[in-house]
Symmetry: C2
Subunit: 203 residues, 2 copies
DNA sequence: GATGATATTGACACTATGTCAAGTTGCGGG
DNA sequence: CCCGCAACTTGACATAGTGTCAATATCATC
């Protein structure tokens, strides 16, 4: 691995991103990446340890470019738990749409590569944290539907908002991303937020 | 591929099952299977076209042994939509616990193998059908929470009851299977079934 | 014009899948 | 008894993709 953040390095990262999006993360070989980036296959190994390292570096690059922090801001600055939850779902939906191909690729190699698994799990943990923050806020307002523990509600919400879930609904059920947002918001609010403006059968 | 349902064939299938459970579906090679079954590696190819074919055959064998039909009976014979949903969730939870390792293995190869993908999708479709049946029944009783389409509710429930979701909650969040059943039932009923005995804030 | 970092080229080792051909074992029927 | 078939073994081989290594080329810059 070379030290500097060279031009070539960035070009490789951009290429990986592009190829992963084009091929939904599947069947992209090291040689494909090299060729598309206009370098030799070995040049890739000059900059990255191995395939896993390359993919992980790409996700970091994407985070940087996409500005994940900024994406989550509306959720973090929300004034009440319900809107925090709503905004978080919006943010996740957009984010997943951006990282789709790479996520699928990472998801695949994490089965066989320990480092990739760690990288993936870290990300999942971050999302879980976001879920937890929303649930905590809802609970602190006394609006968590009775019967839920904060932990249990967080786990369930986390599962509902997982990439796999998004992928199934978007690519398996052909939902549009705004449908995903609307429906998942509805289910999450029904399931976890008490005291909504009607919407259940009580009217 | 040989014709008869020989002893060896069954022994191989049992071995695959066992190894998949032991290793959570990961890193099980054709040679491992052969060795554990006490046959040569080539004997495996005498009975099965390739790895994908073998794994798919194993799932069929498991279905047969586990009696999937019987497992779903309580759900299918339920008298109302709400209990149909509850029973379906119980059945899925048990089933997932039984097929865990194999499911993970299939999940992995379906990315690269078209036939495996088809086999997996078929199973998913069957589960979706079960979700749809419960939702239909709930809707026909006029108890589907307002705002849902049958299709949308089915998709969401299907996603909630996916193997990936179960796996995340059981192996990622360390839930016990009865916790899974209880919590997922609760969320599903809150989300989709109107007119429950209170449980929301209206009291 | 030597130095060091960057890149190329081609050869190679490794792993796992799947294929092929030749040989073995066991068993039932003529 | 032995023919022949089916099931199985053995060992060699092709292939695909990853990762490694060594020798060489390019080029800026001091």
């Amino acid at each position: 691995m070379l030290k500097q953040k060279s031009d070539t390095r960035t070009r490789i990262l951009k290429t990986v991103w592009k190829l992963m999006e084009e091929n939904r993360g599947q069947g992209v070989r090291m040689s494909d990446i090299a060729k598309a980036a206009g370098v030799s296959r070995q040049a890739v190994y000059l900059h990255f340890d191995d395939r896993a390292d390359l993919l992980i570096a790409t996700t970091h690059y994407m985070d940087e470019v996409l500005g994940v922090e900024k994406l989550l801001e509306p959720s973090r600055t929300a004034l009440d738990g319900e809107s925090r939850l709503r905004e978080f779902i919006i943010a996740m939906a957009h984010h997943y749409a951006n990282i789709q191909g790479m996520a699928q690729a990472l998801l695949a190699i994490k089965e066989t590569d320990a480092e990739a698994r760690i990288a993936w799990d870290e990300r999942m943990e971050a999302i879980r944290h976001g879920c937890g923050a929303a649930i905590d806020m809802i609970e602190s307002e006394g609006r968590l539907v009775q019967g839920w523990t904060k932990d249990v509600a967080t786990d369930l919400l986390w599962s509902l908002l997982s990439f796999e879930s998004w992928d199934r609904l978007i690519n398996g059920c052909d939902w549009k991303n705004d449908e995903y947002v609307a429906h998942v918001q509805r289910l999450a609010e029904h399931g976890f937020v008490a005291g909504q403006k009607d919407s259940s059968q009580s009217a």
